[in-house]
Amino acid sequence: MKIAQKSIKFLALALLVLISATSFASSTDKKHDTQNDGGRVNSKEEISDYIKHHLADSHDFTLFSYSNDAGERKHFGFSLPVILWSSKGLVAFMSSEFHHNDDGHVLVDRKGLKFAKIHSKIFELDANASTVSFDETHHATNAHKVLDFSITKSVVGILIAGFLIFFGFTKLAKQYKTRDIPKGFGRVLEPLVLYVRDEIAKPNIGEKKYRKFMPYLLTVFFFIWILNLMGLTPLGFNVTGQIAVTVCLALITLVVYITNGSKDFWAHTLWMPGVPKLLRPILAVLELAGFLLIKPFSLLVRLFANITAGHSVVMGIAALMILLKSQFGTVGATGISFFLTLFLTVIELLVAFLQAFIFTMLSALFIGMAVEEHEHH
């Protein structure tokens, strides 16, 4: 009991430090930084550009950047590998070769092909082109997109989350071989695992069948939760706010409940018993649309929109210090935006857990609907 209290105290302290570090870092960041390429953030347009840049995935891992007295841009962070499948096969190089350029002016030569990065997307130039030319809507006219398998910032985030989950849980699993109660960090994980089992899996899927789906539900719960929390650190990940990630998560849930659908489920979906025959095809279309489109869509949109909205609001509030500087002075504006950011970050901590819970809960609910067997009288 005493040890549990100690670890709770430690966790609370660590959480507090983490929160204040986040707000502080995101506040100071905004003072100097802009988009990847340079300049200071002053106007509303630049702030909204900066927020858009943060919400998108990037090929560099930039922690912060600033302009020194000589007007040079300094970037702190590290470059990540760019892996492309171009018209001449596999091409790989480090993203530092683009020199943080994001508007297609820096070209990288590989295998006689030229590559340019425009708005975080990598383009391959046509055979006879030497520079990227744009039409009036700022679309490249002589370059086309390539298949991009790069280790981007989000991929790094996913790898870190996978690593944490793998090591945390293998350690926890091994402890049960020698003792009844886990020690150390496992003591934090155990109640969460039990929570997912008792509050999410059992009531929604049913006592008989829940065991089969526990690995999936636990994985998806901790994956989303850890990535949501990583989004609140100063590292600036926005993984669960990438629509590609949430689409894949929703598709996995779709595959799980479709492949495990019971005979009753398919009978009720495709040829509803107890309904006039004329209505049955219409009902089948509705049910299929619900299960194949609407349910996964609502899952993916909810997670994506919540995290995106949370990140934009926190960053917008942090940017208040720039907009209010003329009215309240530097210290006053920083103070206002610091406390508002702190407040919103605490709410975001709740949202991070809630969204992981909701995603797992609804997945369990849909799986439960699919595996349910009806009693025939």
């Binding site: 509050e199 609502s298 929109a305 809630l354 809960m361």
Partner: protein
């Protein structure tokens, strides 16, 4: 401009819906405090479904 008005309408609708869900859940909990856990879970699920709808509309309007 129009999409901002639309966003406002969506938020009004979503707010009314969430208010109804939260209010009824609280009434339910006040009447039957022992069922608080079950009511809360059901409330969160319905809230999430509503949220999905509202966010979907917001995204489409964007």
């Amino acid at each position: 401009m129009y999409n901002l008005i639309g966003a406002g309408l969506i938020v009004i609708g979503g707010g009314i819906g969430l208010g109804q869900i939260g209010g009824k859940a609280m009434e339910g909990i006040a009447r039957q405090p022992e069922a608080a856990g079950k009511i809360q879970t059901a409330m969160i699920i319905i809230g999430a479904l509503l949220e999905g709808l509202a966010f979907g509309a917001l995204l489409l309007g964007k």
